[in-house]
Symmetry: C2
């Protein structure tokens, strides 16, 4: 008698596919319109939250690999979107922040991202949205217990 593992009712599987579809749909937009790759967008959006940040701050906030963050930051700096200063008190740290151009771009990108998310969430009622956050929160806390600390959240794990 085969074990009853219904893949389309298996949370890791469904979560992966949903996450992929959402990322793909969004990525297509900011890729085409703003020329940002996914890692670049992640770094950029993170700096939109708080500035300045070190590379390591971004690693912690995004669960990205530090090599990937390093490369994304380099591209964003090269594109003139970020300023990269050495930290005055700790020479090991970078002090990353938006350039003027970066700030302008963020002012364009962020509202679009929010609007897009709004369209996506428009299929849910307010109550359902609240539920969704609560459920995801619970699951994330639960699963965090199972992950051995210091294991990086690699991008290929999907």
């Amino acid at each position: 008698m085969p074990p009853d593992l219904q893949l389309n009712r298996f949370l890791p599987y469904r979560l992966n596919i949903l996450s992929k579809k959402v990322s793909l749909a969004l990525a297509t937009r900011y890729q085409e319109r703003f020329g940002l790759s996914i890692p670049e967008w992640r770094v950029f959006a993170t700096l939109g939250q708080e500035q300045p940040l070190s590379s390591n701050d971004i690693v912690e906030r995004t669960a990205m690999d530090k090599a990937k963050v390093s490369r994304a930051v380099n591209r964003l700096v090269a594109a003139g979107l970020l300023d990269r200063q050495p930290h005055p008190r700790d020479q090991r740290l970078l002090r990353l922040s938006f350039s003027h151009k970066g700030r302008d771009l963020y002012a364009q990108v962020a509202p679009e991202a929010l609007a897009w998310e709004g369209q996506l969430l428009s299929v849910l009622t307010d109550a359902e949205r609240a539920q969704l956050w609560a459920l995801m929160e619970k699951l994330e806390q639960r699963v965090a217990q199972e992950i051995p600390e210091s294991v990086p959240l690699s991008d290929s794990l999907d």
Copy 2:
């Protein structure tokens, strides 16, 4: 005035991190215990649902790249877990199914995967689980509308 994009309340971002954590936690287990990589597990579990399947069937069911499926299938065949036969009526198609060894392994892996999922979901009530499925279903249908057809769901989109 900066746009109010709160990243930790931004669905694509949170979904990505949750999905990564879940995949990582689960992958660590079947990697260590059964020697299966993530793509291999995906293919393997898909065949647990229905047999025989062609490679293309698996591509459709898992949203994986066909090159990745091809490589995962090769490794599983080499490991003696799958049988690969040519389809009698269409020589282009493969007829993939479990070998005896594969069936035995599945009988071990599937219950563990289910038990693990059960632990994860144990933080939710039955009603909450039902909600979760319903919400994910709605979101997936909504986002599917935005994805141009025939765009593959690459694994690097996270």
